[in-house]
């Protein structure tokens, strides 16, 4: 039933992929720095600790059970027949990676990349739950992400599942294309962030009784801006390794992919800086950080298929979109997302998926329908699933910290020590008290 060939890699390509994969954790490290910088000082150590913990839990759970559902192209899978067409919906691998030869083969490189990618996806929702998400609950939520949501969707996108087969089975272009994980990593993480922020509710004092949001600025713009540069390296590696292993792109395209990733991030950050300069009179550092990250996310799906000018356009649109989305979520929809995870990862990720069919050389007849089917799956399957799982978790293990913990700060309450013990924490960091 599976007619997608596993990429055959030369020794040099496999070595290049391995080196690229080693750089992927920098994407998570950069994201953690950004999340930390955009959060409050009294929860800074908690954010970094939570990033490390959820990365680890997600990787462990993925190795234990996640890969069994995801699998890889050409490996055993369960296939339904619908209207005479195959519908490959879940892999059939043994638990704990049994039966896999872990060498420099494409299979084993895919597993290694996936273990790190699921860790990155698990770090994304942390910023949405900043200042109020208990460490244990965040770990449990990331276990659900790595054990259920991520592997199911990633199987459909990357492992010969029905989405990627829409081209062969239904004549929709080349099937759903997502080289670097704009959907499986970024949008899945971003939609989980939306679910988490819905379930947790806003931070104390974020919204007035009339629903007007209060500004709670991030505590360290330097960390956030440094995180952008670290994330750029990780993202370039992720986009490159993903395109080679999942989209079958030749290893020589790495230069184009890194260039497009960089151009998209720069264009997005600059457009965010210009818009905030025009709107507020000064460029806003935290929104520029969000713009940079949105450019990286938007480049994930199409980076291997874009011309440099198109990559700049993708980035510029991502910058405008992320600013509009942050404004809409906070001002109109009462969604308290301190690090902008929903806008940066879900909205920009979806834009990147659309850009594959609108602006890239991969677009062919019906390609846009395949991309729309993938986006529809994110909204109609991933969002209800991840919301339902986190809602259930919340019923048995309340995810929000209690009032005392929120007032005290997550560092002192959950870790027993602050990130900056030599500094006096200023009075509640602009939060209104009721």
């Amino acid at each position: 039933m599976i007619d997608l060939p596993l990429p055959s890699l030369s020794q040099s390509s496999a070595t290049l992929c391995f080196v690229l994969i080693l750089l992927v954790p920098l994407a998570a490290a950069g994201l953690a720095l950004v999340n930390c910088g955009l959060g409050r000082s009294r929860s800074a150590a908690h954010m970094m600790m939570a990033s490390l913990c959820v990365f680890g839990v997600a990787a462990l759970v993925y190795v234990a059970i996640g890969f069994s559902w995801q699998g890889a192209v050409g490996r055993p899978a369960h296939v339904l027949m619908i209207a005479g067409k195959p519908w490959n919906w879940i892999a059939a691998e043994p638990f704990f990676l049994r039966g896999l030869r872990l060498d420099l083969s494409a299979d084993s490189l895919i597993v290694l990349l996936q273990v790190l990618s699921v860790g990155l996806a698990a770090v994304i929702p942390l910023s949405a739950g900043s200042d109020r998400w208990r460490l244990g609950a965040a770990c449990a939520s990331s276990a659900l992400l790595a054990g259920v949501t991520y592997p199911l969707f990633a199987h459909w996108v990357w492992s010969g599942g029905w989405l990627v087969q829409l081209g062969a089975d239904c004549g929709l272009g080349r099937g759903f294309i997502d080289g670097g994980g704009a959907s499986a990593i970024q949008a899945v993480g971003g939609l989980t962030a939306l679910s988490v922020t819905w379930i947790l509710g806003p931070r104390r004092g974020k919204f007035s009784r009339e629903g007007i949001p209060a500004a709670i600025p991030g505590h360290n713009a330097v960390l956030a801006l440094m995180g952008c540069l670290v994330a750029w390296l990780g993202w370039s590696a992720l986009n490159s390794a993903g395109a080679i292993l999942f989209a079958g792109v030749d290893a020589s395209s790495v230069v184009l992919i890194v260039l497009n990733t960089t151009l998209s991030a720069i264009a997005s950050a600059l457009s965010a800086a210009v818009v905030t300069r025009v709107r507020f009179g000064r460029p806003d550092a935290s929104l520029t950080v969000n713009g940079w990250m949105a450019g990286l996310v938007a480049s994930s799906a199409p980076a291997a298929f874009l011309k440099p000018a198109a990559a700049i356009l993708v980035g510029m649109v991502a910058g405008f979109l992320v600013l509009s989305s942050i404004d809409l979520l906070e001002s109109r929809l009462a969604i308290d997302d301190p690090g902008g995870a929903v806008s940066v990862h879900a909205v920009a990720g979806i834009w990147g998926l659309l850009a594959v069919s609108l602006l890239s050389s991969a677009g062919s007849s019906g390609q846009w329908l395949a991309q729309v089917a993938g986006i529809s799956t994110l909204l109609g399957f991933v969002l209800p699933l991840t919301y339902g799982l986190n809602w259930l978790l919340n019923r048995f293990y309340p995810q929000r910290v209690n009032e005392e913990g929120e007032l005290q700060g997550m560092d002192l309450y959950e870790l027993g020590a602050g990130a900056y013990p030599e500094f006096v924490v200023h009075s509640d960091e602009f939060t209104q008290r009721y």
Binding site: C170, W198, P202, R209, G211, R332, L379, G380, P384
Partner: protein, 59 residues
């Protein structure tokens, strides 16, 4: 209202997925896919609106 929103999200997805599997010609496919997306947008609107009403009431 949030549950209705999520049900509409799922219903729209089923319509979108069913279109390429069941309909061979291009025009009905596109029509069904767009209809499915419309249903999903309605579901998303209901879900976020339900959340907003809840938060404002909670104050």
């Amino acid at each position: 209202m949030k549950l209705t929103g999520f049900l509409l999200l799922v219903a729209g997805w089923v319509i979108v997925v069913a279109a390429p599997l069941l309909l061979p010609s291009a025009v009905p496919r596109v029509a069904f896919v767009l209809a499915g997306i419309g249903v999903q947008l309605l579901g998303l609107f209901l879900a976020v609106r339900a959340h907003r009403v809840f938060e404002v009431e909670r104050g």
